[in-house]
Amino acid sequence: MKEKTALKICESALYFLAALVFYLLVNLWASATSVPFGDFARALPFGLFLADSVYFLFALHLLTHPLNETKRIKTAEVNGALLLILSFVGILSQAVYYRLGYQPSWISGGITPFYPLDGFIGHFVLLILGSGLYLFSRYLRKHHRNYEWSVHEWQGHGKVWTSIFRPFFALIALYFMGALLLAPFRINAFAEHAGSLVGFFLLMLLPSVMLAFYEWDYLDKEPLPQRQRLYRNSVILTLAGLILALWYWLAQALDPRFLSESLIALFPWDFMLQVKIAPYLLLLSCLGSSLIAFLHYLNRSVLKKPKNA
């Protein structure tokens, strides 16, 4: 198996774990808004663990799709060192908290069933992964390795905007994938709202499907020319987005309480603030990104032939 394919498989597998972790992180933040800082501070090392885990996914993505050898080495070196430092800070702070009595026990529960022990062990895993990344950069400096370098298909301002919006979109996709994975444990009254909920679950899945298309059927894919793939993928995903948006609006009209009766436990921010954040964030991000992909297809400067042709 090619090194790049192996890394992509690792990245895809890690995606589901990072999705759960990111979902927990966002909801932890929701809980933290209503408690004094002193109470929230006790969970900071755990929050750092959650954030570092998501950060590792991004570092792995950059390592999988480097533009050239120098960037690959720097990606491994800088992200490895940062992960190492952050996880060390996490371990140290957790140990100090325990020593000072801020944590009553190693398994007190509350945020997860094994909190804070799971975060403490997780920091050690990240410490190992960070060290591994850093050592890999040292290895790469000494040994040249052939690799399929990626090409950044956007130029100028587009390059800047995509480097901002893609991670943001990835975070949205992670959050909803995390919510979807936990839905069986948090959903109420499924039978009463099954028709509406199935469409909404598909909508929650769509951002991750878009990322999967991007990862596996767009980046580095040969021999189909990029313009054709861009056209096909953007049309498929826009259509899927439109169908699911229509499904959602129909469900809202015919079964207006399906979200509030079934998914309160899944989207605490929405019901805390009493604003429909989740459905409209999903609709905007799915329709917006597929529209951008289609506009990008219309851009004449996008490669018409495979880069290696």
């Binding site: 209503s34 509350g110 997860t112 948090r186 009766e261 805390m272 604003v275």
Partner: protein, 305 residues
């Protein structure tokens, strides 16, 4: 005893809040005429973005008091990382829990009635109404708080005719809109205790308040707004807030009242619980017990009069 808005979350200092509750219950017992508590009623928002561990902690704590306790749903109870059925199962497993979610088509879950009997004769009825949940709002992209629906009021009337014309008290988490209208329109005889913040109500107008005046209701009580504990006299019917219980998610201090701690004057914390003493004649006395979270657990008691 009515407890309101305990708001235990994943960040709660469980040991401290347990200690507070223990002192509150002991103070209430010591204050009551009979030195015992017959019922603790958790009137909504007992949890806030909690998980099953937090639920277990609170229910274990309540079980330890060996006093029957009733549970009423509030909005915040729905937002935890558990299914509604999980919490109901946890309640069913508590020997002292009084909770019913009848398999009917009435809106909400905690619509039930507790009949207090004396030698087999019904003397008083306590009604729990489920005001949790959300409705679509008239404002785009927003949710509104759910209001007590016509089918819940119809259920109340059916239940009241079944129980008979005994004096009754009602409990729900969220104030109905008619209460806010009565306050704004000054359509009340008197106001006791404090209003330190806005009144949260749903936009939908229920007929609950107007209907209970035709039944033998003596009072209707709710929570949700931590800063308020005022009670209005609406033509003989007492309607108003309970006292926020425990310091989680914030509470108010009185701008006018103070108490002495070690010779030093301190602003009164609007924190504690409401104690109801029901008499066979149908009358009842209402005390707000302000148990200060000041390390010494100083108790300040005020009676509705």
């Amino acid at each position: 005893m009515q407890l309101n808005d305990l708001e235990w979350s994943s960040f709660t200092d469980i040991a401290h809040q347990k200690d507070y509750l223990m002192h509150l219950i002991s103070s209430a017992k010591a204050t009551s005429n009979s030195q015992i508590l017959d019922l603790i009623l958790l009137n909504g928002n007992s949890f806030s973005l909690a998980d099953k561990t937090v639920v277990k902690n609170l229910l274990d704590c309540l079980e330890a008091f060996a006093v029957p306790f009733a549970f009423v749903w509030g909005n915040d109870d729905l937002q935890g990382s558990y299914r509604l059925a999980d919490l109901e199962t946890a309640l069913k497993n508590c020997p002292h829990a009084v909770y019913a979610n009848p398999m009917d088509s009435v809106t909400g879950n905690s619509n039930y009635e507790i009949t207090l009997r004396d030698n087999g004769t019904a003397r008083y009825a306590l009604y729990a109404f489920d005001s949790s949940g959300y409705d679509l709002s008239g404002v785009p992209l927003r949710y509104d708080n759910a209001y007590i629906r016509a089918d819940q009021v119809a259920w109340l009337e059916r239940q009241a005719s079944y129980v008979g014309p005994v004096p009754s008290l009602g409990f729900l988490s969220l104030a109905p809109l008619e209460f806010s209208n009565a306050y704004e329109g000054r359509n009340y005889n008197k106001m006791v205790f404090e209003k330190n913040g806005a009144i949260t109500t749903p936009s939908g107008n229920s007929t609950l308040l107007s209907r209970i005046t035709r039944l033998n209701f003596k009072g209707l009580f709710f929570g949700q707004d931590h800063a308020n504990d005022f009670v209005l006299d609406l033509q003989g019917l007492r309607v108003g807030y309970g006292v926020k219980s425990g310091s989680e998610k914030g509470f108010a201090t009185s701008p006018t009242q103070s108490y002495l701690l070690g010779g030093e004057s301190k602003s009164l914390q609007i924190l504690g619980g409401s104690l109801y003493t029901l008499s066979a004649s149908g009358d009842f006395s209402l005390d707000h017990l302000y148990l200060q979270d000041d390390g010494a657990y100083t108790l300040v008691k005020e009676r509705y009069q």
